[in-house]
Amino acid sequence: MTLWIAFSLLTVLAALAVLVPLARAGRGAATAAALHDAEVYKSQLAEVDRDLDRGLISQEAAQAARTEIARRLIAADREAQRDSGTAPAAADAAAKGGATRLRLVQAAALVMVPLAAVGAYVVYGSPDLPDLPLSARLEDPAQGRSLPDLVARVERHLADNPEDGRGWDVVAPVYMRMGRPQDAAAAYARAIRLLGSDVRRETDRGEALVVANNGIVSAEAHAAFERAVAMDAKAVKPRFFLALALTQENRKDEAIAAWQSLLADAQGGEAWAEAVRMELAKLGVETPAPAAADVAGPSREQIEAAEELSTDDRQQMIRSMVDGLDARLAADGGSAQEWMQLMRALDVLGERERLRQVIARAGEALKDDPTAAAGIRDLARELGEGS
């Protein structure tokens, strides 16, 4: 409301800037221009006299200047007299059209100015958006809950405390999810420098480098994976990428051996095992189909880590897991249990819109399995999204 009062005030001022001079100026034609000229020349004559008095110009120069000005003055006077003969006629003509012109301009000021301004503002403006000074937003806890905002806060914190290894460690996987693998790799590198090397950091750093490099395992990433394997010979992810590197280098036999040794460690049902089979298939090696899958919940370590974190960080961690699950389901599909897990998580996070989308997608994905589809429908009803 205040906003529109301010707009009205400005508009009234603008209209007055037109209307007041219209009302106050006298009627009729302006003074003949030649008279103005004569005035300028007369003041010039006075100026010459003053200069002469102050001794700035010589007697001869003053005389010459006077002659020159007088010549122009006479010409201007003559013109003014000629004009005065036609002036009354011009004044009449001006007065005749004057009333119409006045009405038109008044109407423009009263109607066109407000209409055009408000009309254009309604098209271009955003009257509903309040000002959002950063300081106020940072103090307001309701603001800035979204992922990019959280990241911005962490970044601000890290800019001030670049030696905070834990901070880098927290922000790195988030960068990965936000599609900023380069930043993620840099953040992991700092975390490793400050907190020391371990299997997860080395592996994730390598992964970030691979993603940043469009899927190619670079020498730097390779070294990171090898460090990880040196620390834990059974670690799956680094071995996966090392096998991928062999494939990319066209070292077929070594690659097949590496993939098969990975597959030998699979319990069955891991998402990566399917990928390994596909890689092997590409290399011309057939493998048996996987056994039925169980739903993998968060591991114990993940839950413990979540308990250690602050509310914001925990929210962030849940989100990261939800996003991961969502992405996997979107890309590879999954069981009814996995779809339901995602739905429950979204319900907890209060992301209703996304929940509705996920329900629709689950129904679509599981439409060939009536039991599973029914289970999804039941849960949807339970979560208040039944149709």
Partner: protein, 662 residues
């Protein structure tokens, strides 16, 4: 709310400018006092409204309101407050708003201070100013609106281009824009004269001060931009003949010509039609510069926009205003009365020569700037014209101009005596000759062009001094009266002297730097030292330093002369973290008028660094000359007399006096 009020004020300003475009001009052609009376208050109101809009945008930058897209794109919460403010015009939309703010400021100034201007002329002038304002506000609102909002708002912005995070951004664009846009009011005066079909005495009276005002600011703006490039870009150049620099230089050249032709018109009533044309051309060149910078046809630090829609729109404005005004000129100029006859050898004649050379020089710069662009559009071939072209075209045009310059102020109006003036310049010519011989002897005879350049500069500077001394007539009236006369001289006479001397100083700086500078490019390790000119620089290593939104590697050099430490220099290589963009911060130490300039290139892992090292003799004169020139302009601006020029009787006696005054 503040942002939205700013947005609404901007829209309202556009609506008013549309009204302003029609009503006063209509009143002027129908001699209707009431309609004409609308012009000044509406001009003032537009200034108020655009001012509100500008203040609102600035407020959004100061509080880092990232709900404004323009702020997101060009600011960062960690940026120092000064750069938050200057960031307002460090981008396309914001600088356009500054452009329009200055446009309406000039309208408001004419409305407020133009009491002596005849009503018709004032109304028509403000009406034409309304056309320009309306065109640019429409451009801004439809393609470059700074008040577009983002929802949801991000928590951080993208930061300002690091090269622009400098005190230079606080000074250079506002000065330059006052200059550029200031010529708009002269343009409006010219178009108004064409509409009304008469150039009256008041027109002649008012064009010169407005031109001067714009010219002073343009001079300072260009000089500041040149110094900024010199210390920020890290390789010691001060003028690159970059198309964007040329875009500001062309209006300056045309504006300088206009300044001089306006003198003839004011004093003698001659050259009216030519002055009107120059006024149109000068502002047209300003518009051309705006087009080059904002259309995306150029890539440089100045090129803001690469959006073709904007380019097309500005091209439209350009064609409309330049084409329209020239067509109006062709149609209406024959109505204007020519005045004042003069002999070829006279003050007027000298000023015509000045105009001739300056306009040809402008044309040369124009060709050199546009030819590569046109060629690229037509054939897709990319060529770079570069300094050699300009040295071959612009340089030779300046030589006769500068050689003739000292004669002008000595010549009498209407008919002059060249021989008599020559006599009075003997002593100055002698001094110039001595300067040539001394510099040839000092720097070796293989540098004859440089020695001649020094001589030309000395000729120009000494002639300016001689002219002002001869006006005091010390030989005739004795020392004390002479001094009194010197003080009492019209300010415009002092203005001329300072303006011309300033050109000479700048020329001296340019010649000295291009001919006598020393340059070294080398890799230096901590503890090593390097010698240049009379100085020894000791490098003690690099240190890492953290700024508000950057980190930099600062090198430390102790500078010795004849074994004594005389200064230190701390050049830096800076990395702006938000944009991951490096910049160089040159270390510059001034000794008298000369400078030692160090800038750091690549930093090596062993603590060494590649450096560029220069000794630049008399380099500061380049910018000091510009300051002196501008000071001359300011003096002349405050000469509020109603000036008139008339031929004086023969002055053989005074000729002798002039020589005595040298």
């Amino acid at each position: 709310m503040i942002i939205e009020i700013g947005h609404f004020a901007l829209i309202l300003a556009f609506v008013l400018s549309a009204l302003q475009s029609v009503v006063p001009v209509w009143g002027a052609v129908t001699s209707d006092r009431r309609l004409m009376a609308v012009a000044p208050p509406v001009a003032g109101m537009q200034f108020l409204l655009v001012g509100i809009a500008f203040a609102a945008l600035m407020q959004a930058y100061m509080v880092s309101d990232f709900s404004v897209v323009n702020v997101i794109e060009n600011s960062h919460s960690a940026k120092p407050t000064l750069y938050k403010i200057t960031g307002v015009w460090g981008n396309h939309e914001g600088s356009l708003l500054l452009w329009v703010l200055i446009l309406v400021l000039f309208g408001a100034l004419v409305a407020a201070f133009g009491r002596n201007i005849p009503m018709e002329l004032k109304a028509a002038t403000l009406g034409v100013q309304g056309w320009v304002t309306a065109a640019f506000l429409l451009f801004m609102l439809s393609t470059s609106n700074p008040f577009v909002r983002a929802s949801p708002a991000p928590m951080e912005g993208n930061d300002l281009n690091p090269i622009l995070q400098d005190i230079g951004l606080a000074v250079h664009p506002p000065l330059l824009y006052v200059g550029y846009v200031g010529f708009s009011i002269v343009f409006s005066f010219a178009i108004a004269a064409l509409i009304l079909g008469r150039v009256d005495a008041a027109w002649a009276r008012w064009v010169r001060p407005w031109t001067l005002l714009a010219w002073v600011f343009l001079t300072l703006g260009i000089a500041m931009g040149s110094y900024w490039a010199y210390y920020e870009l890290g390789w010691g150049g001060y003028w690159f003949w970059d198309p964007v620099e040329n875009a500001s230089f062309m209006p300056w050249l045309a504006g300088t010509a206009l300044l001089h032709s306006a003198i003839v018109m004011e004093k003698r009533g001659a050259l009216k039609v030519w002055t009107v044309l120059l006024a149109i051309l000068t502002f047209s060149l300003s518009l051309l510069g705006t087009f080059l910078v904002r259309s995306g046809v150029l890539t440089s630090v100045h090129a803001f926009a690469t959006d073709p829609a904007r380019g097309t729109f500005i091209l439209g404005i350009l064609v409309l205003f330049i084409g329209g005004s020239l067509a109006l000129y062709a149609w209406r100029a024959p109505l204007l009365k020519q005045g004042g006859l003069f002999a070829p050898v006279s003050r007027e004649g000298a000023l015509v020569l000045n105009n001739l050379l300056l306009t040809v020089a402008t044309a040369a710069v124009l060709v050199g700037t546009l030819y590569p662009l046109v060629l690229e559009v037509l054939t897709g071939e990319k060529i770079s014209v570069g300094p050699p072209f300009f040295n071959l075209t612009f340089g030779p045009l300046m030589i006769p101009l500068l050689m003739a310059m000292p004669f002008g102020p000595f010549l009498a109006w209407k008919r002059g005596d060249l021989a008599a003036v020559g006599q009075r310049l003997y002593a100055v010519a002698g001094l110039a000759l001595v300067a040539i011989l001394v510099s040839a002897w000092w720097q070796g005879t293989d540098r004859v062009p440089a020695a001649l350049g020094v001589g030309l500069a000395v000729w120009v500077i000494c002639a300016a001094v001689a002219e002002i001394l001869s006006r005091a007539r010390f030989g005739d009236v004795g020392l004390s009266t002479g001094l009194a006369r010197l003080v009492g001289l019209p300010k415009s006479a002092w203005g001329t002297a300072f303006g011309h001397a300033g050109i000479g100083l700048t020329l001296l700086g340019v010649v000295a730097v291009s001919a006598f500078q020393e340059e070294k490019v080398l890799t230096i390790r901590p503890g090593e030292s390097v010698e240049i000119a009379d100085y020894t620089l000791n490098f003690s290593g690099l240190a890492r330093r953290t700024g508000p939104n950057y980190v930099d590697d600062v090198g430390h050099f102790d500078i010795y002369r004849e074994g004594r430490q005389v200064a230190v220099a701390d050049p830096a290589k800076r990395l702006y973290t938000a944009r991951q963009m490096p910049t160089t911060e040159a270390g510059i130490v001034t000794f008298g008028l000369s400078q030692v300039y160090v800038s750091i290139g690549e930093v090596h892992s062993d603590g060494g660094a590649d450096i560029r090292l220069y000794h630049k003799p008399l380099v500061t004169l380049i910018w000091i000359g510009c300051l002196v020139m501008s000071f001359g302009g300011v003096l002349s601006l405050f000469d509020r007399r109603l000036r008139v020029g008339a031929p004086k009787p023969a002055r053989r006696k005074m000729a002798a006096a002039g020589q005595g005054g040298d």
